[in-house]
């Protein structure tokens, strides 16, 4: 049985060209970028080069890139780092109730530490209402954090509008762009964001590396202490190999983003087409034209995620859901609960299929047929 991977929003396979770029670094460049000798300088040189590439990919300055271990750390640093550094300006933070847990749980932690947090609701189209944000903003708001693309539904938030609204407010604007980066061209100035999180493994790069963009003017406390790396904002010997892999993945992504988007959109349509031909009853969570092409979130009424995912896996189809079901606990998807209400059945019967480098038209169509067969068996 051929295994088919439709979970690229969870993580992606590494591009061969990324691996090829990393191998010689593993073999040859082991120096510590902070060292005052040739070995160190070589590593530092590569690091700087990569930093420039990453900065350029979001139209930022290289000094504004802080390497982290990934998206979660970038979100933590953005929220906690700015909250602590700007306490004197206020203690109010605004985010949304559809954020990734890296943001949500960090916000909850800050609440415990005495900050006030407003969680904005979303409308039935999955997007926040700018008017809600306007109402929630207070003179002592120090940070607004809204994710760019939701990881479960692929729904794109109106980041540019939010940036526009916040232009004349003291609050910093952070966006978790982990899921957006591979699909949407980002210009931090045009968007008006001050902080932006990105992860390499979502764009065919290695795991364990990501970055936080932090506008030069903003005040940010470090969360860990040690050496001078990352201008003291994130000390620790740099993951040079990871950074090189990340850089290569970004170069490829920037070059191929458009063609990838077209390809993934075609996969998505082919997938849906098969389900329709097979007369499967389903609903799509999120309007197709307000989601990124690589994600489709589908509700299959009369089923539940634990049974669906196990059946898909046993038939070789890898997908996932926002409902956590580890250790036998089914927590309804917090994202779909925010959109449709906590008791809506779709919060426990929706599956995210996400397309990417591991897919071909043939395996997408084959996966859709396997999915259809399972749905027919389970929904009688």
């Amino acid at each position: 049985m051929e295994h088919i991977y439709l979970d690229h929003a969870a993580t992606t396979p590494m591009d061969k060209r990324v691996i090829e770029a990393m191998v010689p670094i593993y073999e040859e460049v082991f120096g510590n970028p902070s060292s005052v000798h040739a070995y160190g300088r070589k590593a530092r040189q590569l690091l700087d080069e990569a930093r420039r590439t990453l900065a350029k990919s979001i139209h930022a300055n290289e000094k504004e890139i802080i390497f982290t271990s990934g998206g979660t750390e970038a979100d933590n640093l953005a929220l906690i780092g700015t909250a602590l550094a700007n306490k004197h300006k206020g203690n109010h933070i605004i985010t949304t109730n559809i954020e990734h847990h890296a943001t949500l749980h960090t916000a909850e932690y800050l609440e415990k530490e005495g900050f006030k947090v407003t969680y904005l609701p979303v409308q039935d189209n999955g997007k926040i209402d700018i008017i809600d944000l306007k109402k929630a903003l207070k003179h002592d708001t120090i940070l607004v954090s809204v994710m760019y693309v939701n990881n479960e539904t692929g729904i794109i938030q109106p980041i540019e509008e939010i940036g526009e609204l916040l232009k004349d407010h003291q609050a910093y604007f952070h966006t978790d762009a982990v899921q957006a980066y591979g699909s949407i061209e980002i210009d931090v100035d045009k968007l008006g964001v001050d902080l932006l999180s990105v992860s390499a493994h979502k764009i065919n790069g290695p795991k364990g590396i990501g970055f936080l963009y932090a506008r030069e003017s903003i005040k940010l406390n470090a969360l860990q202490f040690g050496g001078e790396q990352e201008r003291k904002r994130r000390p620790g010997t740099e993951n040079v190999v990871g950074v090189i892999g990340f850089k290569t993945a970004v170069e490829l992504m920037v070059k191929e983003r458009e063609s990838r988007n077209e390809k993934y959109e075609a996969f998505r349509q082919q997938f849906l087409q098969v389900l329709k031909e097979e007369n499967i009853t389903f609903d799509i969570n999120g309007k197709i034209d307000s989601t990124i092409p690589s994600i489709i979130n589908i509700s299959f009424s009369g089923t539940n995620v634990e049974k669906l995912l196990a059946n898909f896996d046993l038939s070789g189809v890898a997908a996932s859901s926002g409902s956590a079901c580890t250790a036998g606990s089914v927590e309804p998807s917090h994202v779909l609960s925010a959109i449709y209400g906590a008791n809506n059945p779709c919060t426990t019967n929706s599956i995210r299929f996400s397309f990417g480098a591991a897919n071909t038209t043939e395996n997408v169509v084959e996966a859709a047929h396997r999915v259809a067969k399972i749905i027919k068996r389970l929904v009688k």
């Binding site: 049974k307 196990a310 059946n311 046993l314 079901c325 250790a327 036998g328 606990s329």
Partner: protein, 370 residues
């Protein structure tokens, strides 16, 4: 003939050594084995720690050692509705329920079996110590070879339709051998200690647990003749034949619970392990399940167990018109307890069982027993 690799067996895995070895043996026999962890009860404490998470981690470790896929499923709602509600209702009625029997009937071999079938399973396997065999076209359940571990008592409500889809890979093994297999294979659960007590109560204090769900009504302890001997904490905390926790001092033989008066909230106690009032010679059982109804005549002799791990006793079973049975003991029995299961055997074959409802002595129902 289908090869084992084309036969899918879903194993109910608890994170304990028995179900781990059950999965291992099936894997060694070449079956398409899938491990599933079932969560029936949420015991998350104030720190967010839940034993289910640790148990599931053990399932994950073992399944990875065996290289089999694993998933989890949640039956908290069904467990609450079908098992826990029954458990509380029985205590409210002054009886001593057996939630394990109910869990096997309603959850493990019903909801969970259906779930396994929905995953394309041909069989459901568990780590129970019992055996299934096909004899003359009939599916029978036999005691586990390890008589100290035999769990057919708890499985008495299974039907042959269900047993046809069930495997008990440990039924022919002694527990010591199961431990040995686990340690020979270096299974992560090889030295994990067996779970004790009722699954949802775990290691907690039973009295404390029950008091969270049922209001305790303290009352008097009396002899059957009406002599007040002290106070009880609430009838639900006591079971027939119990000695511990009565706190009756004085000289002579120790005191035992012999019955309950629910209406007047009185706990009956008498002196001496072999006190006459603890003995009976018949019972009436309800909710009968016969694994192969066609082999059971209207009146027959067999052996029976009235409690788990008790020696068998000779009985005569008489079917009543309403589907209940009268069970006449060859020798009078001590501490027959309403709410517990009575399970019937023909040699090694488990015939089925029911719930003890009335206890009879010299043709009179012992009202004080419940």
């Amino acid at each position: 003939m289908r090869e084992n690799k084309d036969i899918r067996v879903v194993v109910g895995m608890s994170g304990g050594v028995d179900s781990s070895v059950a999965a291992l043996l099936l894997k060694e026999q070449g079956y398409d084995v899938v491990g599933i962890f079932m969560k029936n009860w949420d015991d998350t404490d104030e720190f967010g720690v839940c034993t289910a998470t640790e148990d599931f981690d053990d399932v994950v470790r073992v399944c990875n050692q065996l290289d089999i896929p694993y998933y989890s499923v949640n039956f908290e709602k069904q467990y609450w509705d079908k098992v826990f509600t029954y458990f509380l209702d029985e205590y409210k009625a002054g009886r001593t329920p057996n939630p394990d029997v109910m869990c096997n009937k309603e959850i493990k071999f019903k909801a969970f079996l259906d779930y396994a079938l929905d995953l394309g399973a041909d069989y459901l396997a568990t780590g129970h110590y019992a055996q299934v065999r096909e004899e003359d076209g009939k599916i029978e359940m036999l005691r586990g070879v390890d008589s100290n571990k035999d769990q057919t008592y708890f499985l008495n409500q299974l039907t042959s339709d269900v047993l046809e889809k069930v495997m008990f890979p440990l039924g022919h093994l002694p527990k010591s051998k199961v431990r040995k297999i686990a340690s020979e294979h270096g299974l992560a659960t090889a030295t994990k200690k067996d779970s004790t007590g009722i699954c949802f109560i775990g290691e907690r204090n039973f009295k404390e647990f029950l008091s969270e769900y049922l209001p305790a009504q303290p009352g008097e302890m009396q002899t059957l003749a009406g002599e007040v001997k002290g106070k009880h904490d609430g009838l639900m905390y006591y079971t027939i034949g119990q000695r511990q926790g009565l706190g009756i001092g004085g000289s002579g033989d120790p005191w035992f619970v012999v019955g309950k008066n629910l209406k007047d909230n009185i706990l009956y106690v008498e002196q001496g392990f072999s006190n006459e009032s603890l003995y009976s010679d018949e019972l009436v059982a309800t909710d009968l399940n016969w694994i192969n109804p066609e082999v059971v005549s209207n009146e027959f002799t067999c052996t029976a167990k009235f409690r788990y791990r008790q020696e068998d006793s000779a009985v005569t079973v008489e079917k009543l018109e309403n589907g209940n049975v009268r069970v006449i003991f060859a020798e009078s029995q001590r501490a027959i307890t309403p709410g517990q299961a009575v399970v019937f055997y023909d040699g090694e074959v488990c015939l089925g069982g029911g719930t003890i409802d009335k206890v009879i002595k010299k043709d009179h129902v012992l009202d004080y027993v419940g």
